[in-house]
Symmetry: C2
Subunit: 436 residues, 2 copies
């Protein structure tokens, strides 16, 4: 699997002189991501591409990985020509079994067997390994930039889904380690990538977008051995979804209740949509603790009520603060502050008051996680809140910030990079549900 | 009620020389919003404020509206001095019944009765009437700008909630007509404001944030006569929420199931959080149609599956396209496009293809609403999609756009101002559920 994620040399079949062609974008992405290995563009009709020497399938040197961005029908022929010079092959091109051309699948599998060559794909976006500055995808970085480096690794059959999710990850400063879009799983399968992530030292949390499983039993075996937290975004939960999944990836989404049961056994978190998926990955990457009762600190009573509702609706409760906490809150704040849970600092809330209240809840044993509501419209809140909150990114207990967007608020929210920030109360409860 | 929303003259008690003081912010907001009426700052210790002549309670001229931003305990005394020169009074200050000072409430009510003077508040944010350029709130516009003008009017007991919601409204280009934060409802009550909105020519859709009702029966009477769509954001749904609401506004949130039943009778839409509230108001302000079956156009299969799941989970279905639609889609698109519902234009989707597919669904009688999934990472999508989509803002059927945020996507999303744009599949289904 290392030959896919950390190759020392990559041959790109379908490298083009035209900057827009996917094969050329692959070359550009390798160059611009800072990949330190060798790049061999393969194109029978060009001498030089991006200042690199160009080869043909016949002349290309030995390489750890061959990437194919050429029409499906000529992939097998070219693959067979170079098969004994490659250690692994990744086929980005679509137009195989998923388009009814199953004879191409058969050819690829024959070559894989004959040359003992693992084949990734076909019909996929590719992969990324941020810690190796390795961007092996065919989408231009103007559309899909490399996300920030971090500990979250993602696997997904669907290329467009993972592209969208990754781009989004950048906007919430979610640190990514590895990304795998594995497409048709003709040879390399979901459970092998999961296994690799589970053993990978640069991966601390795994995100898994799944419609259907290729071999459920094997995945389950692999998953049972894993010790890292996994968060799943499962599509194909309802009749409509299952039918749509069938026409998308041809996957048999299976019975969702069965999948849910297995996930629950494995203690996998289940996100209800891409936003919750990403925010939960962000939270889970920081905190591993379990959550039953939550403390809420707000500066607006209404949002405190809505957080309370959402927590209870999702099966969590509000902590009953200890006497010590109650005493310390009473001592710290003027009478207008409501010191029950949710703690309501009211419209005169200052950044310091938030710090004081969060500290008190942090040291209360009845509090497993803290939701902080910021309404940046209030006159005494300012950018000092950023540092005060960022301090809790190495706290023992999860801290999720609810801060709705707004003229002034949106600028502040972007700078609270080390904590999960959500816009709406029910989302905070959603994140805590997934990671609880 | 016109004296509150469209006064010709406003006296501001508590106008200050200091720019940070709430009383001064009220004066600044009136000046900068473009209010064309007279402004009388009232302050016994200043001669001139913001180039305006300053009065005392004894000398201030007759005014349609007196606004009080002075300490609670001196409000009754000052109000009584000017009561016969005012047509209405709005008390922003807190510190009345909600802080245990019910004797101040009694005094205000006596004055109201004695002088036949309606009193708004106390303990509120104030109000806005965008069509009169009238911003009567105490939060600086740097924190809470006037939202764009439009047809949505909002009422809320909670000031901080409405401030946050309004600021957010601006970021999604939700056109606002009137905003009312009515606080303690000592005299002017929720149902009177609802009634006013229902009859107001500049209001087409009403948004109602509610924890508890002052007089449920009266509100029900008023609501039964209303013909405009109402969308409710109800807080205090669960045991935890009800308790939190009680300590927030002192409201008895009552039994949520009862409230839900009433809302259902009244055909009020119920939003599950502030984000859904705002996006549904935006959608409902454009479309009044009813929704049972939905057509989906996507460029990513995974997102199509997730939209399908969410629709079914929320009680809606995917349309079965007519033969005519199926034929026209088959003719229009290459074979790789999946022409069943969801229509999957796949990774080569162009803006034109989206237009063609949406047009086909628009003219299909089985389709009540359309969800469009844009994944702007795809190489052939560009800014042409903006105009193509904006065209449907006067279409007969609702069009909700799912476009996740990203490096390139976020810029595009901001420019699709005339349609509801959501980031995640489940949110599109949520909006359609609320307005169905």
């Amino acid at each position: 699997m290392d030959k896919f994620f950390s190759p020392k040399s990559v041959a790109v079949f379908g490298a083009s002189r035209s900057l827009e062609k996917p094969g050329r974008v692959v070359v550009q992405n390798l160059l611009h991501s800072g990949f330190s290995g060798k790049i061999y563009p393969v194109n029978p009709h060009a001498d030089e591409i991006a200042n690199l020497e160009v080869f043909t399938s016949e002349t290309v040197p030995k390489a750890d990985l061959g990437v194919f961005v050429i029409p499906a029908k000529i992939v097998p022929k070219n693959l067979e020509i170079v098969a004994d010079r490659l250690k692994s092959a990744l086929v980005i091109s679509g137009g195989f079994g998923e388009s009814g051309n199953s004879e191409l699948d058969t050819r690829l599998l024959e070559i894989s067997k004959k040359y003992d060559l693992r084949i990734w794909g076909p019909n996929c976006l590719g992969l990324m390994n941020t810690h190796q500055n390795f961007n092996l995808t065919f989408l231009p970085t103007s559309r899909l930039p490399m996300p920030p480096k971090g500990g979250v690794s993602i696997l997904s059959q669907s290329g467009a889904t993972v592209a969208s999710v990754l781009d989004w990850a950048g906007t919430i400063q979610l640190g990514i380690s590895k990304v795998a879009s594995y497409g048709n799983q003709l040879d390399v399968s979901d459970y092998e990538i999961l296994d690799y992530y589970q053993k990978d030292k640069e991966t601390s949390v795994i995100g898994f977008y799944v419609e259907g499983l290729k071999e459920g039993k094997k995945l389950l075996e692999v998953a049972r051995e894993g010790k890292k937290p996994v968060i799943v975004l499962k599509a194909g939960k309802t009749g409509s979804g299952v039918r749509a999944a069938k026409s998308h990836t041809g996957a048999l989404a299976g019975n969702f209740e069965v999948f849910k049961g297995i996930s629950s056994q494995l203690k996998w978190g289940m996100a209800c949509g891409p936003e919750e998926f990403l925010l939960s990955l962000k939270a889970r990457n920081i905190w591993q603790s379990h959550i039953k009762n939550v403390g809420v600190v707000t500066c607006g009573g209404g949002f405190g009520v809505m957080v309370s509702d959402s927590l209870e609706e999702l099966g969590m409760g509000l902590s009953n603060f200890s006497e010590k906490t109650t005493e310390s809150l009473k001592k710290a704040f003027p009478q207008r502050v409501s010191i029950k849970n949710p703690v309501d600092l009211t419209g005169d809330a200052t950044p310091e008051m938030f710090g004081t209240a969060i500290d008190a809840l942090m040291s209360d044993g009845s509090v497993d996680a803290i939701v902080v509501v910021l309404l940046m419209q209030l006159p005494k809140l300012n950018s000092e809140i950023i540092d005060i909150l960022q301090n809790y990114s190495d706290s023992e207990k999860p801290v999720v910030v609810v801060s709705p967007p707004g003229a002034y608020a949106s600028g502040i929210n972007k700078l609270i990079t080390d904590l999960p920030v959500v816009s709406s109360p029910e989302k905070a409860a959603g994140v805590l549900r997934v990671i609880r």
